[in-house]
Amino acid sequence: MNLSKKWMSDYVKLDVSDKVFTDEMTMSGSKVEGVEYEGEKLKNIVVAEILSLERHPDSDHLWITSVNIGEDEPVQIVTGAQNLQVGDFVPAALHNSYVANGTHITKGKLRGVQSNGMLCSLSELGLNLHDFPYAAEDGIFVLGDDCEKVAGMDIKEAIGLNDTVIEFEITSNRPDCLSITGLAREAAATFKTKLNIPEPVVKYSGGSDVKDMLKVSNSAPDKCYRYIGAVVKNVKIEPSPRWMRERLRACGVRPINNIVDITNYVMLEFGQPMHAFDLRFLEGNEVIVRNARAGETITTLDDIERELDESMLVIADAKKPVAVAGVMGGEFSGIMDDTTTIVFESACFYGINVRATAKKLGMRTESSARFEKQLDPNGCLKSQLRALELVEMLGAGEVVNGLVDVYPTIKEQVTLPFEPDWVNKFIGIDVSADEQKTILERLGFKVENDVIYAPTFRIDIEHQADISEEIARFYGYENIPSRELSGVAAGYLTEYQAFERAIRSLLIGLGSTQIETFSFISPKYYDNIRLPEDKRESVDITNPLGEETSIMRTTALPSMMEVLVRNINYRNASASLFELATEYIPRDNEELPLERVALMLGLYGSDTDFYTLKGMVERVFYYAGVKYKVEAVSDNPSYHPGRTAKFVVNGKDMAILGEIHPSVCDNYDVKNRIYAAEIDFDALFAVKNTDRKYTSLPKFPAMTRDLAFVCDRDIPVGTLAELIENSAGKLLEELTLFDVYQGEQIAADKKSVAFSLRLRATDRTLTDEEADAAVKKAITALSEIGAVLRA
């Protein structure tokens, strides 16, 4: 909301600097977003009286003028304009001046004749024909009788381009502050001074009775709380006076003509949108407030045909809708140059419905933006009277006697008990009852016999807490003391949170970089990772920003892939990434999906292979204290069928890890080998065992036996290791794989696998015989699957 300082001063007299004004208003709750000084860019432009006009000797279009700028000597300026006469008063940009677009004007010669400046058009002052409708369309701006024709006067003063405009951010609970009077009320309360908003006075010079000229009925009282119609006859459409145009301009509204300007002026002044209809086009001289009918259409003022539905409220005449209530008028309802009789509408509609209608029709207007926040039906009357008062003031027409006021249910004031102690206790302050009463009264509340009567325009007041806010903001938030919280409370991480942090640290220690990806993805991402159809049921967003972010992911693998591929495309040589990523799994018979966390790992780069990835996953499981079985996976379409494994704990798959399937890489158009792991983090947490118990350090020496076996190539090392572990007995302390060899000296379909066995007894020094016995058991076990000790 833009506030004209000139306008506000009609209602409240303040004697403070702009800095103090904006600071204090912000601190009392009306946040200032910016201050603009009209005509700020104009420098050294004054009113000049044309004393003489002579043709330039060397030009057929230039004129040499001598102008009076209020100094002893006239000034010579050359101009190309053809619309000047001796005696005109015009803006003159003198030597060393600036016009609106920032151009610096200096003296010089035009075709050999000295020119000490430039005479200005409207656009050079940053204005247009809406501001001064009588000005020549292209030519110098000749000041009219509504300007001060004083030679030498600063042009900004002379034409009223000198207002200060303050832009406020108005929160949605305060539609009453979307008005000059509303902000003036806040200003008066902030600076503890008097507010004076006079009651409008209407003379009804048009005689007769409005009820003979206009019929109003309301068949939707749930959507229209009040409708006041008034009629003005013998309307003379012309530009409105300068002061009105000036104020509209300051508030960012373009002046059109006197009647339209009056409706806008009242809207800005009181926050109540007004509408004016041409009575000629109201068939049956009738206004009917009703729901739109299915299939009904209206062409709105912006020349677009709109289809209406039954949820929308319209203003109709006997035959057709003439306006979408509170949003926009129809094409024939507007004011034209030959309009002679008008109907002023001042109404109050159900805000939520206005909002819904404006949204459905895709046209949010100044009017709907106000109505949708819910206006006060009690404010309609004053606004209507003010509009009529302005008509009379401007001589724009004759107001017909009386009003048609359809107001089925009068809105009562909200009352609350006056409880200053409650307020003090709630806020933590000590403000006397008298002071609290004064604060409330300045804001238009009435306090009588310990009852607070809230003004009906304050739609936000419903509860004692709302009263406390009024007290707090005018007592000053800055004056509320600051108290340290007392009492003992335990702040600690839950086990889950601590585990998350530990795993995060672990992975960073392993050289992995944490990423954060969007939870919503495109359904096409499932194609990219070749996810089976039966795993694609996702939580869909009904109003997504775009297809790219339209479903909640059920797997974070595509998110990881996107990031890996992006880094590859950025030519980053390698990456090791992880994310604790939420996945959203729809559930039968539950409104909300299961939200589970997956620990995602992703790698690529020259030093990276499957075992790099597996080493990291092993570290995670080691930290978690979880024992697992590793099984080869060959049937997951996202992963390489020969380079993928899963970790299984108690029969449950806890992790899948492997090289990404080359066909998936093709889908991402990358050639690199990419490795990824998905760990079911919540399941891992559920079985984790991070309690550590110390085992006493060995007191007796260990023996090491290195054994190499030759076996079929397709026997996994894991199978050999498992057999050794199960057969060698308790003495086997640690089994380490140290070599796998295929090639010369080994049969083509065989491989050599070398293990180191560390054997130890906890209670004695092991003898060679004991060690040999254990090794022999292992050799026997392996021989059963055809693995023989290599000579």
């Binding site: 709750g29 702040g491 409104e591």
Partner: protein, 339 residues
């Protein structure tokens, strides 16, 4: 005998001092102090001396022996030092060469900031609570005093899954869930992802992170709110940080405030970071609306509370001087490895 003793001593000392290696010294030790040394020989000859001379001579021999030993030890130490120095010289390497590359792991900046905020509040006795991101309309709006038709619910701002289910547009629904389950006193913060239908640009993202706080107890006031937030601001930006509360509007708090901190770059003088204002807005807060307490199953006549919320991206952008929010979700390792 005495002369001989002195001659042996002088000769030994001279040879020792001119020795050039540890080996040479060890030989000299045997020669002058060993069982077959001249000194030993002299001791053996003492049998021929008178009982009066014997102890005097014994003392002289021992003293000479001690002297030789002393000189020898010193010479040995000197030579060892010299030899060590030579060896060290030979082992000299070029320390300006690069270190062996250790893998670079790093925390995501949003996660770093979140943890920093979490730690501050853990220290003040807060617990960390979480809740679903796909949330019931009731928790995201209705229970937070945002009835149907309220501007904040407009689907232009909120992502809908169905009529009753939304992607939470704020972390505040966690407040209600916590209140429903926990009797006061309550002191929680709830960090997490939130969703609003804003197109991606340098300062907007349809997904971002918030951290919200809630305190409910008997006798909580705005003074307590101010105290907590001042403490938070000091922990985050330094002991000399000040805060400023400005009246604002949120549907679920009353009174409500926006909170500015004195600019951490210019200390309130005014600079480009704070756009010359000396203050930077970082938080929204207020007293929990009594109706919201009631919706959480807490009697507003007995308890009162306050809540506050902060945007993680905003904090991180200020903290790390990041000027484009998209960097956080692009996950370019060249960006991430700077943290």
């Amino acid at each position: 005998m005495k002369d001989k003793l002195n001659a042996v001593k002088s000769a030994a000392i001279e040879k020792i001092q001119s020795a050039a290696s540890t080996a040479e010294l060890n030989e000299l030790r045997v020669q002058y102090l060993g069982k077959k040394s001249e000194l030993q020989g002299l001791l053996k000859q003492m049998g021929g001396l008178s009982p009066e001379e014997r102890p005097v001579m014994g003392q002289l021999v021992n003293s000479a022996r001690a002297k030789i030993e002393n000189v020898l030890e010193k010479a040995l130490a000197d030579i060892k030092n010299k030899e060590r120095e030579i060896a060290l010289q030979k082992e000299k390497i070029d320390v300006t060469m690069n270190g062996k590359a250790a893998p670079i792991g790093s925390r995501h900046p949003l996660s770093l900031v979140t943890e920093e905020v979490e730690n501050i509040f853990l220290g003040m006795g807060f617990q960390i609570a979480t809740g679903p991101e796909v949330e019931l309309d009731y928790y995201n709006f209705e229970a937070l005093n945002i009835p149907k038709g309220h501007p904040a619910r407009d689907s232009q701002d909120t992502f809908y899954i169905s009529e009753n289910v939304v992607l939470r547009s704020q972390t505040s629904p966690v407040q209600i869930r916590v209140m429903e389950e926990t009797p006061p006193p309550i002191r929680i913060i709830s960090p997490g992802r939130v969703y609003r239908s804003d197109a991606v640009d340098a300062t907007h993202s349809p997904l971002f992170h918030q951290i919200e706080g809630l305190v409910v107890d008997k006798g909580m006031t705005m003074a307590d709110l101010k105290g907590i937030l001042l403490e938070f601001a000091k922990r985050l930006y330094g002991e000399d940080t000040r805060i400023r509360l400005r009246p604002h509007h949120f549907p679920f708090t009353e009174p409500s405030a926006e909170i500015d901190v004195s600019c951490f770059a210019c200390k309130g003088e005014g600079c480009p970071i704070c756009k010359g204002e000396g203050w930077i807005e970082i938080l929204g807060a207020g007293m929990v609306h009594p109706r919201v307490l009631k919706n959480g199953g807490i009697d507003p006549d007995v308890y009162s509370g306050f809540a506050f919320g902060v945007g993680v991206e905003r904090l991180a952008m200020f903290k790390y001087a990041v000027d484009d929010m998209r960097l956080f979700y692009e996950n370019d390792v060249r960006f991430l490895n700077q943290f």
